[in-house]
Amino acid sequence: MALDASLVGRTYPPGRVYEVSREKIREFADAVGDSCPAYRDPEAAKALGHPDVIAPPTFPIIFSLEAALAAAADPTVGVDYARLVHGEQRFQYSRPIRPGDRLRTTVEIVAARTMAGNDMLTLACSSSTEEGEHVVTATCMVVGRAPEDAT
């Protein structure tokens, strides 16, 4: 069943607040093999003009994918959640993420189409502080693969 184009524009309100910690930043930087001191050493980050350490560019996947997948799992969207794969990902920053940031993520469906039986759903996950300062938008395109691909 093709995705309904009228899904575009639908939004999902923020779930829980994600609080960024310096240990999680360090753990994530280790996991992507990145030894850059700006992720670990406040003095190194200050030398670059930041008030504290910053998070690696793809760090927001931790909370944005959870928000996006919750929206994709909405039964009224109609994607086969069990056949979901990650098609595209993008991060657009207003400022770097820092320890202590308490981020709330709103999800908006920005594209929904079906090609050759593959459902392609694009979700913009906009994360802001509790005070309303926008920090990053993580946009992901997930693909609900056509059933014919099943093996």
Partner: protein, 163 residues
């Protein structure tokens, strides 16, 4: 080793084209369309996938269970696309010196990176070049990531703010 360490790079705006050019922090005025970033090769092993699963919270079994991965038609356990994306970002952030300079970064996951159960792992060769100079100190960098002779990321583009 990564070298986005402010102590290794000139910060006075002096654009040095010497043998240490790969360590010189790029400036907007000093790059042009076609400027190549230092190429890198990254190796992903099974332990890296386990570590990334824990750090990211993505415990999808196709990233750690070979039996399940093969049962769904994959050649082996595959790396998280986001691990590849996060690893490949270093070619840009190491070049620019300040990771926060990368204000926009997007990729398409075109092919999986199978990771064998051995001590060699899977290597990803990364090249990148400035493909457009924008206003406001920004440049666009296009990244190419190749595993086993095939491109694994499509439309891999970063927008970077340079001093």
């Amino acid at each position: 080793m990564s070298d986005c360490d402010e102590q290794q790079v000139p910060t006075d705006g002096e654009h040095k084209r010497t043998t240490s050019a790969v360590n010189a922090r790029p400036t907007w005025g000093g790059v042009e369309k076609g400027t190549q970033l230092p190429p890198r090769t990254y190796v992903l092993k099974r332990a890296d996938l386990v570590r990334y699963a824990g750090a990211s919270g993505d415990f999808n079994v196709i990233h750690w269970n070979e039996r399940v991965a093969r049962s769904v038609g994959l050649p082996n356990v595959i790396a998280h696309g986001m691990l590849t994306m996060g690893t490949v970002a270093r070619v840009v952030t190491d070049w620019v010196g300040d990771p926060a300079a990368m204000v926009d970064y997007g990729v398409r996951f075109t092919r999986p990176v199978p990771v064998p159960d051995d001590d060699v792992g899977a290597s990803v060769e990364v090249t990148a070049a400035v493909t457009e100079k924008l206003d406001d100190g920004l440049v666009r960098v296009t990244i190419k990531a190749v595993h086993d002779g095939q491109t694994v990321l499509g439309k891999a583009i970063a927008t970077v703010r340079l001093p």
